[in-house]
């Protein structure tokens, strides 16, 4: 972890996303007070909590494996923090009932966690956080132990719940779809460094470097290093025109080649000769759309790209198709530093 500087607005849903080992969980644990920090400060509101114990930070955390107390009932699990804080019994009772109602756990309050399904346990873990009415929710991959269908369902529920409670939330995940669908803002991390923190829309449209470009979006953005000319870039023998200002900026940085990025969904198969030539390897038909996996020749050798095509009239394997790239959705990066050229 290195010099992470993040500001989270009150009531915001911020998602920390990145590949495993990027330091996102560690950041969350530092905020929770489970991990020490070497330098810097952690502020919650205007309060400096850098050296406070977890319980004094007014936070609640949802763990990846839920970490329920197996020897307590669902109700006791949810009310435990309040009991320790010496909240009066009837107040605990009221808040637990309320949370159970929100999470649809009413009939399970007297059960032990082992008598619950995975999804119910997950909700108890959420309930334990809600009941405390903390300033900040910290969630460490809370959905990763659910099956795919339940994950999508719970994803929406958590987002709705957060919106309704208006509690500032930090959410850690390695799944970019979760990040994009849930977060007000998304912070992309890699190797302990913050790459970009912005709204999902901005991350998608204006990735600040090659890593973010490749990480956000599914299927991933096509990235190829191609030679630069005065009007654009040469891809597979075809000139792809690039905005003037970007070319000027690239020349200013002394570049002879750039990394061109374009998303599969921003391409179309063209009938004339203007698009870049792609030799088709595999075609994935998804219904109305099809993703065409193929190769483009670059100076460094063939590179695999994904192009969107029609699912009803898919190209055949072995054909050479022409893929047109819309110029406004084109991304150009400096191949050595990885950073974005132009806006």
């Amino acid at each position: 972890m290195d010099a992470l500087d993040l500001q989270v607005a009150d009531g915001e849903f911020l998602v920390l996303v990145g590949p495993s080992g990027c330091g996102k969980s560690t950041s969350l644990r530092m905020l929770a007070g489970l991990e020490d920090i070497d330098g810097g400060r952690i502020l919650i509101g205007t309060r400096d909590v850098t050296h406070l114990a977890p319980k004094e930070r007014d936070i609640a955390m949802v763990f990846q494996n839920y970490a329920l107390y197996p020897h307590m009932t669902v109700g006791e699990n949810m009310g435990f923090a309040l009991k320790l804080a010496k909240v009066p019994k009837d107040e605990i009772e009221r808040r637990v009932q309320e949370a159970a109602k929100i999470l649809d756990l009413g009939e399970y309050l007297a059960r032990k966690p082992k008598a619950l399904s995975g999804g119910q346990r997950q909700r108890v873990a959420m309930g334990r956080a809600i009941v405390r009415e903390p300033q900040v929710f910290l969630m460490d991959e809370p959905l990763s132990n659910l099956d795919a269908k339940l994950r999508v369902q719970t994803r929406t529920q958590i987002a709705q719940l957060q919106h309704r409670l208006g509690t500032t939330t930090l959410y850690v995940t390695h799944d970019q779809t979760e990040a994009m669908t849930m977060g007000d803002r998304v912070a992309v991390m890699k190797d302990g460094l913050l790459q970009q923190c912005d709204t999902p829309r901005a991350l998608y449209d204006h990735p600040t470097n090659i890593f973010v470009a490749g990480f956000i979006g599914s299927p991933a953005m096509n990235l190829l290093e191609v030679p630069l000319s005065n009007e654009g870039v040469m891809v597979g023998g075809t000139l792809v025109p690039v905005e003037r200002s970007i070319i000027d900026e690239a020349h200013k940085q002394g570049l002879r080649s750039v990394t061109l990025g374009f998303r599969p969904e921003d391409t179309a198969i063209e009938t004339d000769e203007t698009g870049i030539p792609v030799v088709v390897d595999v075609v994935e038909i998804l219904g109305v759309d099809a993703y065409v996996y193929g190769n483009v020749t670059t100076p460094a050798g063939p590179v695999e790209v994904v192009v969107r095509g029609s699912g009803r009239f898919p190209p055949k394997v072995g054909d050479t198709i022409r893929a047109g790239i819309s110029q406004e959705h084109m991304h150009v990066f400096n191949p050595s530093t990885g950073s974005r050229i132009g806006d």
């Binding site: 977890p54 319980k55 936070i59 955390m61 763990f63 970490a67 082992k114 619950l116 997950q122």
Partner: protein, 302 residues
Amino acid sequence: MSTENLTPDVAHEIAVGEASTKKVRRRDERSPAMSFLLHFGLFIALVWSLVPPIWAFLTSLKPNDQAITTELKIISDPSLNNYVHVLTETDLPRWFLNSIIVAFFTMLIGIFLSATAGYAVSRFRFPGHKQLMWSFLITQMFPMAILIVPIYNIFARLGLLNSLGGLVLAYCTTAVPFCAWMLKGYFDTIPIEIDEAGRIDGLSPFGTFWRLVLPLARPGLAVTAFYTFLTAWGEVAYATAFLTSDSKKTLAVGLQTFVGQFKTEWGYLTAAGILVTIPAVIVFLLVQKNLVAGLTAGGTKG
């Protein structure tokens, strides 16, 4: 008529009929010979373990002069005289009390020390962590007997000879390292996230240990309790070496007085022996209901 002309249904029935008359043995069934061997083996084991206590019990009911007899009768005119004698006319009640005090405190202190030590080595990383684990293991490698002389010398200097407290201390030195190691293994199976959830919910480190980890480690603690109790309850060598006065003797030491130079009081010895087993059985019964698996089930994952 060959089977080729039959309809498939009939052919199937014939095939099934043939199989059932042959009586195919399934995987989970034993052959009669195997079954006999198994039951015979179990019977031998049963006799092996039950005959001595039953014999001792029967002997304890016999008058002393009949203890060793060539008569084939199992028992003639049973009486509780031996029990009455050892309970009223010997120091047995005193020894009994001493043994209970020693065993109880060994159990109490042993559990407390080994649970706290086991938790510390399971959860915290500190300088000397590895060395501590090694020392727990290495102390197990010395036979108790070779420690008698050094402990005797140390106790003599500290004035702990002939005291029950000293004996408790001596027993703890052998029981605690083993139990700490064992409990460490048990604590390792409790997910650390449960501790962390507790800390976030507002528990102090000791609170986490006391309210979350200990309740979940009940089976491990039960085994520890039983082990420490038995360590102290049946031990002879230390007790014989360190206790000198009659009033401080534990049962194991006291019972030896029934074995005289020329004559062994079998009746008294067996009666006392039967009485000795009672507390151990009680402790086991109290403890065994905690020996349940799956206490941590449901805490984590789905």
